[in-house]
C-alpha cells in the first residue's frame, strides 16, 4: 500500500498556530497544510467529526488564514479596484464574499471582506496558502494614505453546526442574534473578540477572531461545552465540498473566472454596471454572454469516489472537463465531486463519465450545495 502517511518528510520548516499545543494534546494527527502543521483529524476520525459538525457543533482552528486590516480614507474604493464586489455599500458590521481578480478575470484568491462595526478599517480574511502573495498584491495597488496591517498575532476559530448558536448564547450573550454574514465585537471569558456569523461548512456557525495568546483559553471554554468537539482539516474539506464551496488552488485559481466558477451572485449590481476591477472586460462579457465552461456539482453513480484531476468525458469518451474536488460525502453517504465541464454539458441531470484508474464511472451533473445550507438569516 502506498504512502499511508503523507507529508511526514517535510515537517521541518512548518509554522504552528496558537492552538498547536492543544491540538497535539487532544490527539490530533498533525500534517503539513498551507505551511503550518495542523491536525487533519482527532481521535473521533474524519467521518465522526464531519457527522458531529452536521448534528451538533464542531470547533475548527483556522488561524492559518490571513487576517488583514485596511485603514485609510477611501479604503472601500481602493479595495473595489481589486475585487468585483460592492464594498462601498457594505453596512457597518456587514461582510461579503469576494475574489481578488487578475487582468484575465482569474481569481488570485477568494476572501471575506468585513466593514468592521464602528471601526476605522476593512477586515479581510484570505487563504493561508496565499496570504503572503495577497498582501504584496494589495500593498502594490494601494494609493497613498492607505495602511495595510497583517494581524499575524491574531488567531481565528470557527464554531460550526446547528448547536453553535446555543453555545455562543452562553459564552457571548447576544451574539446568537447575529445574522449570516454580519459581525460584532464582544467578550468571551473576558477576552475582546470579533465574532461573525460565518463559516465554510454550509452549517450555521460563527468565526471568532482574538489575540493568539488568548486563543487556547477560549478554545478550552468552547470545548468544555458538551456539544462541542474539535474538528480537523479532513472534515473541514468534506463539509465544504458537500456545501458546494470552492477551495482556492483546486476549484478556483488564477485561470478561472468568478463567472465560470458560478460565483456571479457575489458581484453586486452596481459593480456589474460600473466595472473598474481587474479583468472587468472579460468578467462583464461572461456575465452577459455566459462562459464557455462552468463549475458544476457531480454525483458518481456507484460508490467509487472520483478525485481531483480525474477527466470528465461525454458519452463518446471525449474529454469535456475535469474534477477539481472529489471524495466521499459522509452526510450523503456516497461519493461527491465538483468540477468544470463545457457549458453545454452543465445542465442538472446531464450524464457524464469520470475517468478513474482507466475506467469510465457513470455520473450525473447535480445541484450544489449537495447538502442544504443551515445559515441563520434571522
Amino acid at each position: 500500500m502506498n504512502n499511508p502517511h503523507p507529508g511526514r518528510t517535510e515537517e521541518n520548516a512548518l509554522k504552528t498556530t496558537s492552538l498547536h499545543g492543544l491540538q497535539v494534546e487532544l490527539g490530533g494527527k498533525m500534517v503539513p497544510f498551507a505551511g503550518y502543521e495542523m491536525a487533519v483529524n482527532f481521535p473521533l476520525g474524519v467521518l465522526g467529526e464531519h457527522n458531529h459538525t452536521r448534528a451538533r457543533a464542531g470547533l475548527f482552528d483556522v488561524s492559518h488564514m490571513g487576517q488583514i486590516r485596511l485603514y485609510g480614507d477611501g479604503r472601500a474604493g481602493a479595495l473595489e479596484a481589486l475585487v468585483p464586489a460592492d464594498i462601498a455599500n457594505l453596512g457597518p458590521g456587514a461582510m461579503r464574499y469576494s475574489q481578488l481578480t487578475n487582468d484575465r478575470g482569474g481569481i488570485i484568491d477568494d476572501l471575506i471582506v468585513t466593514n468592521a462595526n464602528g471601526g476605522d478599517h476593512l477586515a479581510l480574511v484570505v487563504n493561508g496558502a496565499n496570504k503572503d502573495g495577497v498582501l504584496a498584491h494589495i500593498q502594490a495597488a494601494l494609493p497613498a494614505g492607505m495602511e495595510l496591517e497583517h494581524r499575524t498575532d491574531d488567531a481565528l476559530l470557527a464554531l460550526q453546526g446547528p448547536g453553535a448558536a446555543a453555545v455562543m448564547a452562553r459564552l457571548a450573550p447576544g451574539s446568537e442574534k447575529l445574522v449570516f454574514m454580519s459581525c460584532q465585537s464582544a467578550q468571551i471569558g473576558g477576552v475582546a473578540c470579533h465574532i461573525s456569523r460565518a463559516g465554510y461548512t454550509g452549517e450555521d456557525g460563527f468565526e471568532i477572531s482574538m489575540p493568539g495568546n488568548r486563543a487556547e483559553e477560549i478554545a478550552r471554554l468552547l470545548l468544555a461545552r458538551e456539544e462541542v468537539e474539535a474538528i480537523g482539516l479532513g472534515a473541514r474539506d468534506s463539509l465544504r465540498l458537500e456545501a458546494g464551496l470552492c477551495l482556492h488552488g483546486h476549484d478556483i485559481d488564477a485561470a478561472t473566472t468568478p463567472i465560470e466558477a458560478g460565483l456571479a451572485w457575489s458581484i453586486q449590481k452596481r459593480r456589474r454596471a460600473s466595472g473598474g476591477f481587474p479583468g472587468a472586460d472579460i468578467i462583464m462579457a461572461q456575465l452577459k454572454d455566459g462562459a464557455g465552461r462552468k463549475r458544476v456539482g457531480i454525483l458518481p453513480d456507484g460508490r467509487a469516489p472520483a478525485r481531483e484531476g480525474a477527466d470528465v468525458v461525454d458519452g463518446d469518451g471525449k474529454v469535456i472537463g475535469a474534477i477539481t474536488s472529489g471524495g466521499f460525502g459522509p452526510t450523503l453517504g456516497g461519493p461527491v465531486a465538483m468540477g468544470y465541464v463545457h457549458a453545454e454539458h452543465g445542465g442538472t441531470g446531464t450524464s457524464l463519465g469520470l475517468m478513474v484508474r482507466g475506467k469510465t464511472l457513470p455520473a450525473k451533473v447535480a445541484k450544489i450545495p449537495f447538502v442544504p445550507a443551515g445559515y441563520f438569516r434571522g
Binding site: M1, N2, N3, P4, H5, P6, R8, V40, N41, G45, V46, L47, G48, H50, G234, A235, D237, S238, R303, A304, P305, R307, G327, F328, P330, P335, R357
Partner: protein, 125 residues
C-alpha cells in the same frame, strides 16, 4: 496453522498451504482513517509480485495495494463493497481483501515477519 508475512507497503499475507490471504495492517488502517471504498481484484486474475492489485480509499485519499507475491486471485472479500468500514474494525479478520494461489513460494522470502514489521512501524509511527 498459517504463517503471517508483512510488506513494506503495510500489507499482511497469511499463508496456509499455497493460498495467501491479504489485507492491510492495523498501522495502515490507523493512518488512513475511515475507509469508505475498496476496489478488489477479479477472481482468476494473474498478478506478479508488486503489481497494483486493489485500491483502498479513505474520506481524503486513495491508496493502492500491491500483490505481496505472484499468483492467481482465488477469492475477493465482496462483503467489503457494502461495508468498507470492516477494514477499520477488523483489519486482520473480516477486513481481508483477497486470496491468492501463490505461484512462487520463494517470493515469501522477500517479505517481513511480525518482528521485522513491528520494527519498521516503530520507525514510522
Amino acid at each position: 496453522m498459517s504463517a503471517i508475512y508483512y510488506t513494506e507497503e503495510h500489507e499482511w499475507l497469511a499463508v496456509e498451504g499455497d493460498i495467501g490471504t491479504c489485507g492491510i495492517t492495523e498501522f495502515a488502517q490507523e493512518q488512513l482513517g475511515d475507509i469508505v471504498y475498496v476496489e478488489l481484484p477479479e477472481v482468476g486474475r494473474a498478478v506478479a509480485q508488486n503489481d497494483e492489485i486493489a485500491v483502498v480509499e479513505s474520506v481524503k485519499a486513495a491508496s493502492e495495494l500491491y500483490a505481496p507475491v505472484s499468483g492467481e486471485v482465488t477469492e475477493s472479500n465482496d462483503g467489503l463493497a457494502d461495508d468498507p468500514a470492516k477494514v477499520n474494525a477488523d483489519t486482520m479478520g473480516a477486513g481481508w481483501f483477497f486470496k491468492l494461489k501463490i505461484s512462487d513460494p520463494s517470493e515469501l522470502e522477500n517479505l517481513m515477519d511480525g518482528a521485522a514489521y513491528a520494527a519498521l512501524v516503530a520507525g514510522q509511527g
